[in-house]
């Protein structure tokens, strides 16, 4: 339990609310993928893009975030990553919420499949582009804090979030749940030990 609570994990500052429910396309060779109308939350120091490697180690990635003509931040990720997502550090750390255009240059060493949600429908947002050509939808992007945090340090935030979307609401819900688990465990173990004597 102590090991779990003290383990450092990346913490989300927000997402673009796009679901990675379909493949938007696969990359072939070096290509630049861009997406407009992004909102980078304050405190963001890394960007996680939903790009799945196709068996081989993922290619090098280079990210540029711009707001109009101004560059908000840059970051790179060396080749060799794997899995469904790639996390690219963003420097400098963003201290205020900024609207942005995110561009990721995908290296040529191997192919990746981009995952997101189709932009069909009247209220759909602008789709992402690959080498200037529109893809069928938008790419899922998550924004993360620059350094990993332990679960322990996140307890306050998690407790506050547990109080949302329910009744009764409030951070006391997390406290009540913890108390109930503790009571159940204590009572059960007490009965076990008492009965064994």
């Amino acid at each position: 339990m102590a090991a779990t609570l003290t383990r450092a994990v990346p913490v989300r500052t927000g997402t673009n609310a796009v679901l990675p429910v379909e493949a938007l396309g696969g990359t072939v060779g070096r290509i630049e993928v861009c997406q407009d109308d992004e909102l980078i939350p304050a405190g963001t120091g890394a960007v996680r893009v939903w790009a799945r490697t196709t068996g081989r180690p993922g290619p090098a990635l280079a990210l540029v975030a711009t707001d109009g003509r101004a560059t908000i931040g840059r970051g790179t990720r060396a080749a060799g990553w794997s899995g469904k997502t790639a996390t690219i550090p963003l420097r400098p750390v963003n201290h205020a919420e900024r609207s942005a255009r995110i561009c990721v240059t995908v290296g040529a060493s191997s192919s990746v499949t981009l995952a997101g949600e189709s932009s069909d429908g009247p209220n759909a947002e602008t789709p992402a582009t690959a080498a200037g050509a529109e893809l069928r939808g938008r790419l899922r992007i998550e924004y993360l804090t620059p350094v990993h945090h332990s679960w322990w340090s996140q307890l306050g935030t998690i407790a506050r979030r547990m109080g949302f979307g329910r009744a009764p609401a409030g951070g006391g819900i997390a406290f009540a749940a913890a108390l109930l688990v503790l009571a159940a465990a204590s009572l059960g173990l007490w009965q076990l030990v008492r009965g064994e004597r």
């Binding site: 989300r12 979030r161 949302f164 159940a184 059960g188 076990l192 009965g195």
Partner: protein, 512 residues
């Protein structure tokens, strides 16, 4: 003071009530304190799960909520014919949209609402008090089911209806958690009857259920499984009591009432029926000293008690509510004959419960369903089957379950003389378990024929929790009296650890 003495003198009309009340009080008083403690542990754990899991993130919870709402507002269950189209009430819809339920479910990377702005938007939607009367409760998962669990939830719904649907939902979850406590109580008492030799091990078995995380997760949500688990555990208790003490008329009536309750709770209960009826017939023969027409008297009483409410429900379905008589041919249970065959069905069951046999058509995505569906689900698979541990946890869990099964096997072999003597009882339990597996498997095969979907969830087998607890007790006794406390405490601690880490997993998935 004896019961007979108490009932001989009071004025007529009062006596039966006092007698029944005293009998009930006497029964309650005879329940050991340890059983109450275990039941309280189970209920507390389920309440904790009810607070940890976000609203409507227990499988099919929106459908079951809508069913209760339909009963409470329209006074009748939802239509269950194929033409019925689902219409969620404005009130529930406001909650579902405000919570982003559809985007959260099945997407393990989408958290529950996490910002004050989202919370404010949800409250704004609910503050307008959208109608609770404009839904129809129709759903694929809920509408085919009988109405008992939903009817019992109506008071909790009604109390909550003075505020928002979220209040109704939480109160309904608390009622389910109470049923979770009842399940654990019945499991403890079942162990006392079925495995009376070492009283301490009953606590191990009951706590093994009380801390079972998937049980806590489901019984901490709005789902008829919560009542199904309780009625099934109580039925196992009645049968075990009958095998140990004989089938009395009162026990036959109780068994019949539980069969009725089960049949009126969830269609899957039908799987337990053949074994339970066979058990009652065997018990009837035992209590009369052999097979005779008279031996069928008490089983017939049980069957009669079970049949009356069931027939009443069928009549109400047909005459009052214009529903399918049992619901067993509607919604997810709508039968499909296209491509159905006995061989295909048997092949499907083998794949569903064990593994894909090389050279046969693959019907289940997982190559070893026993490991990748059933054991995985048992160790922990939450939300809308979208929240899982890393794969090594399941490997470890499978190993632990394998060791427990082996230890229980050792106990059975050691006690083979007793097991042989109690063979009819064991066969009855095995028939009940087999019947449930067949019913769940046939439903899944039917779904696969229609949607190429199907598959199973471990919770479908939780009506057998009493037998699982018996396995734990047998495992505890495997290595002799000296090691019994060590194994027993290890079992409870491992289950507790699984429970706590499961809760952390769910918290991380929805709130981090």
């Amino acid at each position: 003071m004896s019961t007979s003495a108490a009932t001989s003198t009071p004025p007529s009309g009062v006596a039966p009530r006092q007698g029944a009340g005293r009998r009930l009080a006497d029964v309650v008083r005879r329940i050991p304190a340890a059983a109450w403690v275990c039941a309280a542990v189970g209920a507390l754990n389920c309440v904790a799960w009810s607070l940890i899991t976000p609203a409507f993130q227990v499988p099919d919870e929106p459908d079951h909520y809508a069913y209760v709402e339909q009963l409470a507002t329209a006074g009748r269950p939802p239509a269950n014919d194929a033409a019925a189209i689902s219409r969620v009430s404005s009130s529930e819809q406001a909650a579902l949209v405000g919570l982003g339920t559809e985007r959260v479910q099945f997407h393990e990377y989408v958290p529950s609402i996490t910002t004050p702005a989202q919370q404010a938007a949800l409250l704004d939607r609910l503050r307008t008090h959208p109608s609770r009367n404009d839904g129809n409760g129709v759903s694929l998962a809920g509408s085919p089911q009988p109405p008992l669990y939903y009817a019992l939830q109506v008071p909790a719904y009604a109390v909550g209806s003075i505020d928002s649907p979220l209040v109704s939902l939480q109160l309904m979850r608390l009622f389910s958690a109470l049923l979770g406590g009842v399940t654990v109580l019945c499991v403890f008492l079942f162990l006392r009857e079925a495995l009376p030799a070492h009283p301490w091990t009953w606590t191990v078995g009951a706590l093994g259920v009380a801390f079972q995380p998937l049980f806590g997760f489901i019984s901490g949500g709005v789902n008829p499984d919560a009542l199904l688990f309780a009625t099934a555990a109580a039925l196992f208790l009645c049968l075990a009591r009958g095998f140990r003490r004989g089938l009395t008329t009162r026990l036959a009536i109780a068994s019949g009432a539980l069969i009725a309750a089960g049949l009126l709770t969830k269609l899957n209960f039908a799987g337990l029926l053949p074994g339970a009826l066979a058990g009652l017939v065997v018990l009837g023969a035992r209590s009369e000293g052999g097979w005779s027409v008279r031996a069928l008297r008490r089983p017939a009483i049980a069957l009669g008690v079970a049949a009356v409410p069931f027939v009443a429900m069928v009549l109400a379905n047909v005459l009052l509510w214009d529903r399918d008589p049992t619901g067993a041919t509607t919604g997810v249970f709508r039968p499909s004959t296209d491509g159905a065959s006995l061989g295909g069905g048997l092949g499907y069951l083998v794949q569903l419960y064990l593994a894909h046999v090389p050279g046969t058509v693959r019907r289940i995505p997982e190559s070893v369903a026993l490991r990748d569906v059933w054991v995985r689900g048992f160790v922990g698979w939450y939300g809308w089957v979208d929240t899982a541990f890393r794969s090594w946890v399941y490997t470890l869990g499978a190993g632990v379950l394998g060791v427990l099964a082996a230890l229980a096997g050792v106990s059975l072999v050691r006690a083979r003389a007793v097991a042989r003597r109690r063979l009819p009882e064991l066969l009855v339990y095995a028939t009940m378990a087999g019947g449930l597996l067949v019913v769940v498997g046939v439903n899944s095969y039917n779904l696969w024929l229609q949607h190429a979907g199907g598959g199973g969830q471990t919770r479908y087998l939780f009506p057998l929790l009493a037998l699982y607890a018996a396995v734990l007790v047998l495992a505890t006794r495997a290595a002799g009296r000296r090691w019994t406390p060590v194994i027993g405490i290890a079992i409870v601690l491992l289950t507790l650890a699984d429970d706590v880490f499961s809760q952390l997993l769910v918290i991380a998935r929805y709130y981090a």
